[in-house]
Subunit: 120 residues, 2 copies
DNA sequence: TCTCCTTTTTAGAATGATTCTAATTTCATT
DNA sequence: AATGAAATTAGAATCATTCTAAAAAGGAGA
């Protein structure tokens, strides 16, 4: 656990904004001005592998990083904006239905956000 | 609806293998040997916009294209292999829980496939 | 059939997020 | 102080995808 790993983990966990690697980099630079983007990528990968943060992959945009605590996402179909939602955990139910051990699941609910609804 | 759009749509719908753009391109070349990759991308995008096929985005690998008929996916956490599963449609339930109109949802169940389990 | 206009296709360059490589630095341990 | 392992760095490389501008194809009317 280097200072970079620790700080990056903090940044991701404390932000509820699903930051991109670039944004994490900018935030980290406030504290460690000499750090380099590759280090951020390295450590984000490391943290994902360790299961301390999770990666959110969405079509047409860079990956985002999110706290690990179980929750699902509302995704605007127009602009891609991401919102957290707390739905009940369905792992058990899914596992029963498919008959193999489910380690986790990734659920995205597509909708049209207020901004996009108004723009139309 | 050009011949390319039509054929690409057919290829994607009839393959249950979640093809990449490159794979669709290879398949299309069997029929139209002079076609170009950019055309495949153009038309895959068009078909997605029209809602005739859907894109499956997964971390660390090129996008795949899938028939539109409602179904969910089992994803191997190790190798990324994709399997179709037919779970009950939960749109209604989710919509009630979040209180906004849900247009669709994207559900991926993470597991470890037999191959990867054995490799360990 | 010829003309005009729109849409599609093409070739190839450009983009951009992410990874890779090899060198350097850091850090813990002896 | 010396060794070795792990982390960081700079910068090049990768690769899926998009973009650009030009060429080709298609379709509707005269």
């Amino acid at each position: 656990m280097t200072k970079y790993v620790k700080k990056i983990c903090e940044i991701v966990e404390q932000s509820y904004s699903h930051m991109t690697a670039e944004q994490v980099f900018q935030a980290l630079r406030q504290v460690y001005p000499t750090v380099v983007l590759a280090t951020v990528y390295n450590n984000l990968n490391r943290l994902c592998d360790m299961g301390l943060i999770r990666r959110v992959t969405q079509e047409g945009m860079p990956d985002r990083y999110d706290r690990i605590q179980r929750h699902d996402h509302l995704v605007c179909k127009q602009c891609g904006k991401l919102l957290d939602v707390d739905l009940t955990d369905l792992t058990e139910q899914f596992q029963k239905q498919v008959g193999v051990p489910i380690l986790a699941y990734d659920l995205k609910l597509m909708y049209i956000c207020e901004d996009c609804k108004n723009k139309k």
